[in-house]
Amino acid sequence: MTTAAYPTVWKKPPFIKSTYLRYSLWAAVLVYTFLALGSVEVNWSRVVEGADRGMRFVKAFVQPDFVSRWPNIWKGLVESLTMTLCSTVAGIILAIPFGLGAARNLVPGWVYIFCRAFIAVSRSFQEIIIAIICAAVFGFGTFAGFVTLTFATIGFLAKLIADEIEATNPHALTAMRATGASWWQQVNYAIQPQISPRTIGLCLYRLDINFRESAVIGVVGAGGIGATLNTAMDRYEYDSAAAILLIIIALVMVAEYFSGIIRKRIQ
């Protein structure tokens, strides 16, 4: 008699267990999609008009033109690469004090709050917005881009370094304190060996990101290959624009490949 109580067909347990929550989530998603799609106005005649340009762009990708704008592309690339390197180095140097300051187990409360607030501000604004301000303040060009990327790097790395420090094994720190080590010695012997492999990996990762970002901030006047790309687009030189995009993709892939190798060797 009891066997009848068991179902003969097995069903996968659902991802969200509560039936009520599951269906109300689905309903919310449906209502939202309806509302959101309603707010998207598409000018189909414009899309049809643009399709032709789209095709030309796709064709340009097959036959990119590296030659005719090469001096400009080269200049943009050199600007981007130097900007990337300088801002990553400066960002790392400045991120270390902020990272130490934002670790709760190392510093007094007011330093912690100040550093965390700085990191929060640096992280919440998009690089583009910072670049707009920097271009207005420092004048157009690579220096504005350098400041932008440095600022963004500080927020990114300092947060990760601080989280890393807070997650270190506390015994090493206690042991160093017990020997009467000064604050610097504590950091140098108890914290630094624990965090440095991952931190070096993160620095390389940020180098990647900075190169990618350096390709964009030129659009708002902060120098680099982005400025060249923007000009190429404005002048409808799709083949040069395609060449620039392909160079960016290739460089990012190369950078990712090498940073992957280095990270593997360190860890």
Partner: protein, 271 residues
């Protein structure tokens, strides 16, 4: 016995002399490269402007005051558009990313020599180009508006979500796959019963994380004409209406903080 010990130095060194020399040379090269890049980078820098920066900064900050709160009435619609760009773009990107992730993972790919490299290239291309550049391209093709923004966000999200997901697929527990396969399940059933349940929490959390990043990115897409609050920002900057710019910054900051806390909470509940 005593004369053998004299070969050893009194103090311990972590690295041999040659190693130290190599490291020293590498550091020297690195510093030289850095200085040289700094010089090339600043060839065209007008130091006059840089020296003037603190004054400029003070000037711009003072012009932002008082913030024009009344402008907020005109910001609700663009803000809603921004959120829609991010959400619809993420949804579209995630839907495309899932099959690409399966094609790219070495244990689920149908063909390791042709399909997998193509999938990996799609992921790399999507990841290396920022959504603003995608938007720049798409505005040209589709015309200004939300659609260009949505597709730009989707194209950028594909690489991110697919990369994290395929890495997750490669790390799944193989015993479950073997168990389901042993029942005679078809490959689709293996996918459905053995692989997807293992990666689903991770996948959803990645998607929500990307949504959070996309909210941030969609705030500036309007700068190139792809809709959202960036359009207002561009217009306000063009007319040097700093009190409005300040309000837009506050609105963006608020949106970002709210979306970040939502995403953090949902992800915490998932994992």
């Amino acid at each position: 016995m005593s004369d053998t010990t004299s070969n050893y130095s009194d103090s311990w060194d972590r690295r041999s002399r040659a190693e130290r020399l190599i490291r020293w040379v590498l550091w020297l090269v690195f510093v030289a490269v850095f200085i040289q890049s700094w010089r090339i980078m600043n060839e065209d820098t007008l130091w006059f402007f840089v020296e003037d920066a603190p004054r400029q900064f003070a000037d711009i900050s003072s012009r932002m005051w008082p913030i024009r709160w009344s402008y907020m009435d005109q910001l609700w619609k663009p803000l809603w558009d921004t959120i829609n760009i991010a959400t619809l773009g993420t949804a579209l990107g995630v839907v495309i990313a899932l099959p690409i992730a399966f094609l790219a993972a070495s244990n689920t790919t149908p063909n390791a020599y042709i399909v997998r490299p193509i999938a990996l290239f799609i992921i790399a291309a999507s990841r290396s180009i920022n959504s603003l550049i995608w938007a720049l391209l798409l505005v040209m093709v589709l015309g200004p508006g939300l659609l260009a923004g949505i597709i730009a966000i989707a194209l950028r999200s594909i690489g991110f979500v697919a990369k994290l997901t395929y890495e997750g697929i490669e790390e799944i527990n193989k015993t479950q796959v073997a168990a389901v396969t042993a029942t005679g399940a078809s490959s689709v059933q293996v996918l459905d019963y053995a692989i997807i349940p293992q990666i689903l929490p991770n996948f959803v959390s990645t998607a929500i994380f990307r949504w959070d990043i996309n909210i941030r990115e969609s705030t500036v897409l309007g700068m190139v004409g792809a809709g959202g609050i960036g359009l207002q920002l561009d217009a306000s900057l063009a007319t040097l209406a700093w009190p409005q710019v300040a309000l837009i910054f506050i609105a963006i900051l608020g949106t970002v903080v709210v979306s970040e806390s939502i995403s953090a909470r949902v992800r915490k509940a998932l994992i």
